[in-house]
Every structure is written in C-alpha cells, then in structure tokens.
Amino acid sequence: MELIKKYPKLFQWLFLLIVFFALCFAIDVPETYKFIRGQAEFVKDPNQSSFVFLGKEVRYYAFDVFWRLPPLLGWLPIWINDSLFFLMNEWMPIEFWNEDTQEFRTRPLVLQISRNLTAFMTFLIELIREILLGGLETIVAFTSWDWIDKNPWAELPGLPWTIVAAGSAILAYKLSGKGLALFAGLVMVYISIFGQWKPSMQTLSFILVAAPLSFIFGLGLGIAAFKSKRVEKALYPILLVMQTMPQYAVLVPALVLFGVGDHAAVIITMVVAVPPMILLTILGLRAIPPEVIEAGRMSGCNNWQLMFKVLIPTARRDILIGVNQVIMVCFSMAVISAFIGAKGLGFNLLLALNQLNIGLALEAGLCISLIAILLDKMSLAWANKQTDYFGNLTFYQRNKNILFFVATVIIGILLAYVGTFLFKGSYNYLFEVPHNKGISTADFWNKGVDWIFDTFFVYIKAFNTWLIQDVLQPMRALYLRMPAVATLVLVVGAGYLIGGIRSALVVCGLTLFIALSPWWDRALVTAYMATFGVIVSCIIGFTVGTLCFQNKHSASFMLGVCDIFQTFPSFVYLIPVMMLFGITDTSVLIAVIVYATIPATRYTIEGLRSVPVGLHDAATMSGVNKFQRLTKIEFPLAFPHMMLGLNQTIVFALFMVIIGAFIGTEDLGQYILKALSDKKGAGIGFTLGICVAFIGLIFDNLIRTWVEKRKKHLGIN
C-alpha cells in the first residue's frame, strides 16, 4: 500500500499493462482470420460480409469485433474517389473560349482550372529549363509553330555548362565566401564531366520553379495566420497532418487532378513544401519583440508598412530558414515525384533502382545529393548573411559580382564557340557533355557490388536470415497478434495517464480512424517496422550523441554530419542498402535505421548542450565525477529535448518505412504504391496517407504533451 502511495504513476502504468495483456490473452485469434480484412473493392468471396454506406458497398472478412473492428470507414476511399471524379468531370460545367478551335466549349470548372494551372506550371518549368538547356517551347508559347519554322534562329540555345558553373560559384562567393564558391564550382564541374548535366538541370529547373512558388504561398499564408486567429485555427490541423503525412500519399490525388508530368510534380511539391514555410513564417513573426512592433506603430506605420517595412525585415532570418526548408523538401520531392513523371535525376535514379543497376543509381543519387548540399549551404548562408552598408562604395565595388558574371557569360559563349571548331563532327564538350559521353563510374560500382556479393554473400545471407527469422518475424507476429480492442485500451490509457482526458480523446479518435479503416493489419505491420527502426535508431543515436557530446569538437563535427545526412533526399538512402542486402525487409529496416538515427543523434547533442552552464558549475563544485554529472544532471535536464528527438525519429522512421515499399514490404506503403498505378487509387492512397499520418500524430501528441509537462515541472523553456 505504501509503495502505491509512493509511486502512484508507476502503478497506474503497471495496471494499464496488465489490462492490456489480459485483453490480449482473453481475445483469441479467430480461425477465419486472414491477413487482409477489408477490401473496399468488389471481390466476390462467399466468406465476406458487406455493408452499404452512402451508396458505397464495402466488403470485408468479418471477425469478432474485439479482435478486429469492422472496416466501417471502408466507404471513405471510394467516396473520395467518386467525389474527385465528380468534381473533375461533372461539377459546374462552364463555357470556355477555346483558342485553337475558335469556339466555345463546355467544360467542368475544376477541370478547366486544372488545365490552366497545368499550362501555367508547364510554361514556367519549360522557361527555366530552356534557359539552362535550350529548346523552343517557350518561344512557341509566345508565337506559333509556324513562326518558329520560318525563324529557326529564335530557338533558345541554352547556357553552356561553363557559364552555369561559374555563375553558381559567383553566387556562392557573394553569399558565403571562397570555400562555398569552390564547392559550388567543383559540384557543377563534377556533374558536367560525369555526364549528368541534362538530368541535373532538369531537376534544378524543377526546384527553381517549385521553391519560389512554395515560398510565396507559404509566406502569404503565414502572414495571414499571424494576423488572424481564425486563419491560424483553420490551418493548424492541416499543418499538423502534413508534418507526418508520407509524401508518397499526396502524389496519388495529384495524379487524378493534374495528370502525369513535371507540372503535377511542382504542384504536389508545393502542397508538401508550403506547410513548413507557413510554420517558420509564423514562428519568425511571433519572435519579433513586441517593442519593435510598437516602435513601428509609433512611427506612424499603417498595416501595410508595418508588415513589409518592419515585421518581415526583422523576421528575415527565420523566414529565410523557411526557404532553406522549402528547398530541402523540394529535393526530396524531386525524387519521389519521379513516380508521377517528373523528369530529371530522380527519374534516372528510380529507373536505375528498378533495373537493379546500383552503379547508375549511385551516380544519380550522388549528383542529387551534391546539388542538395550545395543549395542547402547556399540558402543557409543567405539566411545568416547580414546586410552590409553599400552607400559609400564605388560603382565597381557595388556591382563587381554582376560584372564578373557578365564577363563569364561572354567567356563561356566564346569558349563554346571555340568548341565548335575543336570538336568538329563530335559533341561540343565546352557546351554540354551529353549523358552517355561523360565519364561513367557505373561499371566500377556494379563490379564493386558484385564483388561484395561474391565475397560476403554467406555472411550477409546469414545475418539476413537470422534477423528475419529470429527477430523480425516473431516481432511481426506479436504485433499482428494484438487485438484491436486491447491496442485501443493501451493507447487511450497511455493518453489519459500522460495528458489527461483531452489527450486520451484525441489519441482515441486517431486510433479509431485507423482501426475502422480497412487497413488495420497493414498499419500494424507499418507500426512494427517503425518500432523496430525507432528502437535501434534511438539506442544508436542516444549513445553516439552522448559520446560525441563529451568533446566540443566531436559534438560540432557530429552535428555537421547530421546536417549533411539530412540534406540527402530520403530515397537516396535506399541505394547503398539495396547494394548490400538486396530486396529484403532488412534493406528497408537498415535504411530506416540510418535515416532515423539522424534526429536521435542531433537532439541528444542539442539537449545535452542546452543544460545551463550554471548548473554544470554547481555540479562540478559539489564534486561530481563525469559519470555522475551525466546521470544526475545532464540526462534528467536534457531528457525532454531528447524526447522531442524521439518524436522526430518516429516521423523519420515512418517516412522511410513507407518509402521502403519501393523495395517491397507488406505494409501501408505497399498499398500506397499500388494506388499510384491504379486508376481509382486516389481515395485509397489518400486514406492510407492519413492513416500513416495518424500513427505519427498519436506518438506526436503523447510525446509533446509529456515533454511540455516535464519541462514545466523542471522549469525550463
């Protein structure tokens, strides 16, 4: 009795676990149980039950309700599908003037909007692409095909690669200095020499369109949310879901609305990239000291002047960090949106992976990672750059970068011109190195992979078998053995113990959505893979973080490594693991672990660093040794921040598990991938995406609530 009074929380948790396990044992696996429960399709199977809701028929394998809840939400994907179809093809037919046929045509409004948007996006992408690579679509857009036939000189020639390389070096120099300039130049030269110029520029043009558009929309919505509580409240749930929504899942509805191609990729990238921009804009504007706002008001600013002359310049750094985030999301999407036909490095990467040509995949992956690192560093340098005073500089000093660029353009054109004489009859290497004429290392890598396989096959195989048979399969079986009701009780109980009735209700709602969808079993598989990844990642991350923290240099080195790893588009992680482990669950899990270890490590170091110096000194003066200081002072204080790291680790792990479907897993991701190639997949893909997002949000809610309580308790903010 006394023990219970002393540790009431502990006993509450114990009680919850006992109830959970009791329920697990009380509810047996029904004999008719099959792995897939809901169909939401019209597979006629005499064992299936069915119900009709909103005119949509849902068929499923019925079990004991305690074991698996019936898929009452099975109608949702079908309904989403039908609604989308109705919106696109039937809703609000309006007459539009058609330029080509010179007559009015009746078209549904949404379809017309989608077409116009598509045309606009395509034009933007083509414009930038043709500046970089040459072409005639842009000129044609302003004139006509006949005109271009008569005036063949008007075709855009594209910039020689030398100019682009020098231009990016100059820009990097202006933003940061010699180091970054050198890096920028080397990256561009590398890309060119290795024959990746064209796909790289395609990817770059994609990003140069998607990133600015995302920035504008994100900034606008962020300002709106800052000014109006109502807008903020409306945006908040969307932002929350988008943070944990796997990027795959958004692709599917876009496919229906905008079709296949670069334009759809840009639009969908905006959907993913705008939320972080909104968040950082709000954050930046909120962080402005109230006195600066008051100073602006007392200077007689009206609302417009206050926003654009006082608030936004003051929040400049946070907003530019938002730009950095946008660019990173764009890179990650540049690969993923290759699934819906975006051209560029991502497409090559995907193709190579599909053909199991690891060498080619590595080349493309390396290129996209290099460009990502370059743009990441450049945008960060821009954010951290402080304005300088220009008033007393001469014309030359003020404009020297522009003058340099003009000079390089002239030199580049001259070089390209000289090149036409040098490389008569073959390709002009001073203009553009064609894809198949560059130096290729693919063979080398492929041979390397073969060698690894030949040499270590036995060991890899043994490890693989051990992991799958002795660890993964039992764990998977355990997860699938959890009855729906027991899981619900566990999650809701945890919610109640951590955050009270409010948290319990939120978590209950999120879990019920997944449990009532047709994919509960699949969600369990996703959860099991993510759990495994998170546990291993946390062990590694917390250990590495703690060890690196012991020394100042190793800590900042590790943070730098985390920075670089984080800029890699998530898909790139699949390349090396496929190289080593082939197409197995092990590959996915290792990619998950590598990817999810990044936030675990980073937050551990940051958390330990944030322990106040005063406390360190106080501890030292009380005579603690290193180990005592770590366990008694640093860990307890850093723990809330480390838990936020755990939160991020979970999100990262979920992302990677879903992307891992590309290699072949049996979870929600696999269904999302299937939905991508299904004409009627939009509803399924979207609902699945929400399911994954909700798994993330359940943990997000629990962890955040706990961290906030803990921080309040410790008195740190």
């Binding site: 008051e294 007392m298 007689g300 600013c301 005073y389």
Partner: protein, 343 residues
C-alpha cells in the same frame, strides 16, 4: 494656464474577455481582487491627471504596477477600457485609424526600454524611418536624420548597424528616432533601465541637456525612484494600477501620501532633493547674518556654507528680495534627523 497637452479622465485598462462589461457593472469602483477572480487583470485603475506644455511627468512604479500600460493607453498602443484621454483637446479614443496614424506621424515620439531598433537598417536609416514612413523623400529624410545624429552625438557612426553599437549608443539612436519628426509629445518607456549604472547617469544628463534645449511635453516611465527625483517636474507613483500620489519631488519626499510612497522616500537623501525654499522659515526675516542664499538652490549645494554660520541665513528670491530665513540647525535636522521627525 492654457489647455493641458495630455489630459486623462478616469482611465481604466482591464485585461480579460468581458472586461468592458465588468467595468460598467462596477460603476467605476474597481477592486483588483474581485476582477481577478472573474478572470480579469486590472492594468490601470482610475487614472486622472494632466500634463501641461513643456512639463515632464515621471511615472514611477515597480514592475507590474501598470505604468507601462498607462503609457500605452495614452499612446493608444492599447485601447483603454474606460475613461477619456485628450491630446491637445482631441479625444484620443474617438480617432479613427487614419487620424491616429496622422497624430503619431506628427505629434508623438516614443523611446523603448529595449531600444526596438530595426536590425536591417543603419543608424541613419533607423532615424530616418519615421520620416520615410510619412512619405518624405529619401534625401530630405536622410539629411534631417543626420541633424538628429549630430544632436545625440553619434556623428561618425551613422552608417553602423544597431548590432555594432553599445547599449548606450543604441538608445541614443532610439532617442534620435523618436525626435526625428519633431514631436510635441515625447513618451519614454524606461529608456535607461537596460543600461549600466554609469552609462545610465551619462544618458540622464544628456537627456536633461536635450530637454533643456527642446522643451517637449514628456511622459517618462521608470522604476528607479532616484531617476524620477532627478528628472521630474512632477512624479506619479503607481501601485497595482492606481496612482498613489502625484506631486512634485519635494512634496513627495516631505509629505508621502501613503505608506507605500513613504517606503520609497525613506532612503532618499533629502539634501539632494529638497530646495532651500522647501525647508526655510518664511515668517522670520530679521536678525539675519550676512550670508544670503537663493531659494531655488538644492540644499546639498549650499549646506556647507550655511553650516559655517551661527545666525540664521537670509533666503532671497531671484530679485534679491529676502523671502525668509534658514537656521543652520534646520539644515542639520533635515540631513540627519528629518526622517524620524516625519513619522
């Protein structure tokens, strides 16, 4: 006397959702405790006062006493919940947004505790900012701003950014910015509180020099009683949103209205605050020594001279007319024993 520049009539500021209704129900009889129980926090409670042209009113109070809130009501950075505020006869609370902006662009200047400079603008650009907001051409505003730079003694640093300046220098920029539009009314919200003691003293002297030259109507907020005594024409002492006493420094030291005010005055060295006039005996004008002192002198400055005398000393006004006398023992009493006597 002409119309006061700032005039407050029963101003209330109450934070909370149904503050307005609660204030109406209370009939002007606001009790902080009952309001707090209903989820409202009283910022300013029934403030009435006037500030006349060229006068410096210092509002003194500890943190949370509502002094900054009062200032923000008068500059209408927040809207007062109840009461009336007149700026040169104009009813401030009736102004629409456009008129308010017009008023701020031409009549008001404000200095902030944390300086509140724009980080992306240079010193001179910061100072020119209110002028540019008004729509004055860049060159004119910059040249006007350069005059202000010189006024606050920052010449040579006009192209620095705020991040490159010390705290004292930053506040000089803040002061220059608030003066750029040549306002009639000058609000200062704890302008020197974030500065080191030495710099603070320097800035106070600088501020007095400026005010001597410019003769603005000033509301100055501080939590430092010594600062209030040094600068003020009149002091308002606030506690829990209520103005406890509003009077000249000498009167506050001599006749504290409440126990709270008395606590502040206890430690104040009288000889530094009081004038001869405040302690002289106006009835006795004969049998005096040869020494004469001006009635406007601060006691500290002439105490030594008076104490060398045996007889009472004649007190004269500016016209050299004897208006009273002062006995050396009175000086000793004021300096050493005065506090006890007042109890």
């Amino acid at each position: 006397m002409s119309e006061p520049v700032i005039k407050c009539e029963a101003v209330y500021k109450i934070f909370g959702e149904n503050a307005k209704k609660m204030l109406q129900d209370s009939n002007g009889n606001v009790d902080a405790k009952t309001f707090q129980e209903n989820g409202c926090i009283v910022g300013v409670n029934n403030a009435s006062f006037e500030v006349s042209k060229g006068e410096m009113l210092v509002v003194m109070g500890l943190s949370g006493s509502g002094k900054s809130t009062l200032l923000r009501c008068i500059s209408r950075l927040t809207d007062a919940t109840g009461g009336k505020i007149f700026i040169e006869g104009q009813d401030l609370l009736q102004l629409n947004n456009k008129e308010l902006i017009e008023l701020r662009r031409n009549k008001m200047g404000m200095v902030f505790q944390s300086f509140a400079l724009l980080p992306h603008k240079t010193v001179v650009e910061n100072i020119a900012f209110p002028l540019q907001i008004k729509g004055i051409k860049t060159e004119d505003s910059i040249s006007k701003a350069m005059d202000m730079v010189k006024l606050v003694g920052l010449d040579g640093r006009e192209n620095y950014f705020p991040r490159e300046l010390s705290g004292g220098q930053q506040q000089r920029v803040g002061i220059a910015r608030s003066l750029a539009v040549e306002p009639d009314i000058w609000f200062l919200d704890e302008p020197f509180s974030a500065l080191d003691p030495l710099i603070r003293k320097e800035m106070q002297d600088e501020f007095l020099r400026l005010q001597d030259k410019l003769q603005k109507t000033i509301m100055f907020i501080t939590h430092d009683f010594d600062e209030a005594l040094k600068l003020a024409d009149r002091i308002a002492i606030m506690k829990d949103g209520i103005i406890e006493q509003l009077d000249t420094p000498a009167n506050i030291v001599l006749n504290p209205a409440t126990e709270y005010v008395r606590k502040f005055t206890e430690e104040v060295p009288r000889e530094k605050v009081l004038l001869i006039e405040d302690v002289m005996d106006p009835s006795t004008t004969d049998n005096l020594g040869d020494l004469k002192v001006l009635k406007d002198e601060i006691i500290e400055n002439v105490a030594e001279k008076i104490l060398t005398q045996e007889k009472s000393v004649a007190v004269i006004d500016n016209n050299n007319k004897i208006v009273g006398s002062i006995n050396p023992t009175k000086i000793i009493n004021t300096v050493f024993g005065g506090r006890k006597n007042n109890n």
